[in-house]
């Protein structure tokens, strides 16, 4: 552990598990948001929940944060269970960024952080946290005047101001431009470098593969698969994805049976072929289309990603699922 010692704080569990949850179920009136979820996050790990909108990521995270009581299941965070009389102590050690919190618009960046810092028994100097998220020049600016990316970094700063052992980040970069997204990633990576544990949710696969040691791909309240991003992609057994649009009907079985192709999935108006050998698959595909008298509109290939893992598991694309 590279983390500095925590004085009188409760020692981390000996087994090095930061979050453990088993059989987690959360129902709302008409939907089961989380339908039996098991996961473990190790100390010092960055764990990602990856899934489309409505998959149950936020619900899961809010249960773990002790904000929503689960209907069933066991949750243990940093060795404590919520509601066992140690909630206050546990909150001291968690940094939380909720999806969609709007901080008070009339306060300045500095005032907001001072306020959050005052809630914790131990906190980092406000100026230091402002520097961490690179908001020095906005220190005295009102929150209402910040850009989306700056607001998001302030939300991160509010989570970091207590110098937490563990960070929960719910879609920390959704809606941000690539530049702003990089800055958020940078902050998360520096937190990890200090030994902190992170659990984040995202529906951006590049974010998951860049930041996370392990990801769980979620859909409809369940975990479909869980593992290291590279391992999940490798398990697809393909090295390229060929995506094309065509005018006319093509049969999925025929596409899947082409040499060098492992599978074919139709998403919306496009086809996605998982391809093992691009040199065999591409001529075969073109030949097949010609045989069917179908005109090709566009074609692109890319390296397989987590997104393709999701597509292969659900038959839907992550973004429009």
């Amino acid at each position: 552990m590279t983390r500095k010692p925590h004085g009188d704080r409760v020692p981390l569990p000996a087994n090095g598990v930061a979050v453990r949850c088993a059989g987690l179920v959360k129902r709302y009136e008409d939907v089961t948001a989380v339908a039996g979820l098991d996961l473990e996050v190790a100390q010092g790990e960055c764990f990602g929940l990856l899934g489309p909108n409505g998959a149950g990521k936020t619900t899961t995270v809010e249960v773990l944060e002790g904000l929503t009581p689960p209907d069933e299941g066991v949750v243990e965070v940093l060795g404590c269970r919520w509601g066992s009389g140690r909630d206050h102590e546990l909150r001291e050690r968690l940094g939380v960024q909720l999806q969609e919190t709007q901080l008070g618009e009339k306060l300045t960046v500095e005032e907001t952080l001072r306020l959050f810092a005052s809630f914790f028994a131990r906190s980092r100097p406000v100026g230091e946290v402002i520097a961490t998220v690179e908001l020095e020049e906005k220190r005295r600016a009102r929150v209402g005047k910040l850009s989306g990316g700056q607001k998001q970094r302030l939300a991160l700063a509010c989570a970091l101001v207590s110098d937490p052992d563990m960070l929960f980040l719910d879609e920390p970069t959704t809606g941000l431009d690539p530049q702003a997204r990089l800055r958020v990633w940078d902050v998360v990576e520096r937190f990890r470098a200090r030994g902190g544990t992170v659990l984040l949710t995202t529906h951006a696969m590049e974010e998951a593969s860049r930041l996370c040691d392990r990801v769980a791909i979620m859909d409809r309240g369940r975990i479909l698969t869980l593992g290291r991003p590279a391992a999940l992609v490798a398990a697809l057994g393909v090295d390229q994805i060929v995506e094309f649009r065509a005018r006319g009907e093509v049969a999925a079985e025929r596409l899947a049976a082409l040499p060098g192709v492992r599978g074919a999935v139709r998403t919306d108006d496009a086809w996605q072929l998982s391809v093992r050998r691009i040199d065999e698959a591409l001529p075969a595909l073109l030949g097949e289309l010609e045989r069917c008298g179908v005109a090709l509109e566009s074609l692109a290939t890319h390296q397989a990603t987590l997104e393709d893992v999701f597509v292969s598991l659900t038959g839907r694309a992550l973004r429009d699922a």
Binding site: E65, G66, L67, T68, H88, E89, R91, E92, L94, V96, L98, E100, T101, Q102, L103, G104, K106, L107, E111, R114, L115, F116, A117, S118, F119, F120, A121, S123, P125, V126, G127, E128, R142, C158, S162
Partner: protein
């Protein structure tokens, strides 16, 4: 300087500070709390300013034999405005309340005594007064001898003007409005923006959050009361006849009461529109019935015990007792009790019902 490891700021202090900063940085809120009541007091104070006693208006009908003589006899009467009009104009003046009494004079010959007919609206006090004044003036002018030695001593008691009545009512109304809106809006807005949930994810004590509203109200209340009372005093000479301490105590309890009610109303709604509706529903009856603008004695006797049980009525009555009558705090015990009961019940309920997400 800022970065020195200062003693940890207390969350209650920081929350209150944040609350006050948010308030002063909201120009609309500042307008409604400080400018609006002053403008209202100004408008109503001018509209209902005390005028010199109104003169009574008598009309003598032209063309009758004694008309000229009656008009001459009335010329010296101090409280009367006398006009001489023809019969049709006189009737019209009476009908439209531009005349209080019409005097029809009889024959005017040395051998026939002067006779007059008074025409006036019996239901109007001015009509009856004018009739008596005309009669009195004529009798005197004709040589009546008064046997009673009467002396007049005009009285203008301070604290009986409408503005004296109004200023405490405006203070009460303002304390209700700012307490309820200030609290209700802020809480529901924080809930809508998921800020309450975000706070709930920190070790912040929930009681600190709610207490910070009370503390910020206390700071606000001093200014609110001072602005309205100071304005009434400077512009209209409305004096606080009781002790400032008693005034402070009454205002404090009133403010606390409406903070409690505001918190209760804001305990559950998820939208600002939702809470606005409830706020209006709760405040409107008190706006009308609690005697801020006119005395609730005008309502039927059966309704008055109910009206007196309203928190704003209690606050207004207590404020008037202290400001207008110079009553000691003990004299307002009943009102204080009513407010304390409202405060206690609404706080207790609010804490029980409060929704953090």
């Amino acid at each position: 300087m800022r970065e020195r490891p200062a003693p940890r700021p207390h969350p209650l202090v920081e929350l209150t500070r944040a609350r006050l900063l948010e308030f002063v940085r909201e120009p609309e809120a500042v307008f409604w709390v400080f400018v609006f009541p002053v403008l209202l007091a100004l408008a109503l104070g001018i509209a209902f300013r005390t005028r010199p006693p109104e003169r009574l208006r008598a009309v003598v009908v032209r063309g009758t034999p004694g008309a000229a003589r009656v008009a001459a006899l009335l010329a010296g009467a101090p409280d009367l405005d006398v006009a001489v009009l023809d019969a049709a104009a006189a009737a019209r003046a009476l009908r439209t309340s531009r005349a209080d009494v019409v005097v029809d004079a009889g024959p005017d010959r040395q051998d026939v005594p002067l006779a007059v007919t008074y025409r006036y609206d019996l239901t109007r006090a001015e009509g009856r007064a004018a009739r008596l004044a005309v009669d009195d003036a004529l009798e005197r002018a004709l040589g009546r001898r008064d046997r009673l030695a009467a002396r007049e001593e005009p009285v203008t008691a301070p604290g009986t003007r409408y503005i004296d009545f109004l200023i405490p009512g405006l203070v009460g109304l303002n304390l209700m409005g700012s307490g309820m809106w200030g609290l209700g809006f802020a809480v529901v807005q924080a809930r809508t923006r998921k800020l309450l949930k975000r706070f709930a994810a920190t070790p912040m004590r929930r009681s600190h959050y709610l207490l910070s509203f009370i503390l910020s109200r206390l700071v606000g209340l001093v200014l609110e009361v001072a602005v309205v009372v100071g304005f009434g005093w400077l512009l209209f000479g409305v004096a606080v006849r009781g002790s400032i301490l008693a005034l402070a105590a009454v205002a404090f309890l009133g403010s606390l009461t409406f903070a409690g009610i505001g918190l209760l109303v804001a305990a559950r709604p998820r939208t600002v529109e939702g809470v606005s509706g409830w706020m209006n529903l709760v405040q409107l009856p008190m706006w009308l019935a609690s005697g801020s603008f006119f005395s609730y004695e005008r309502f039927p006797a059966a309704a008055r015990p109910l009206i007196r049980a309203l928190p704003l009525t209690a606050l207004n009555d207590a404020l008037r007792a202290v400001i207008n009558d110079g009553a000691p705090l003990a004299a307002t015990a009943h009102e204080l009790l009513v407010m304390a009961a409202w405060a206690a019940v609404s706080f207790a309920l609010a804490l029980r019902l409060f929704r953090w997400q």
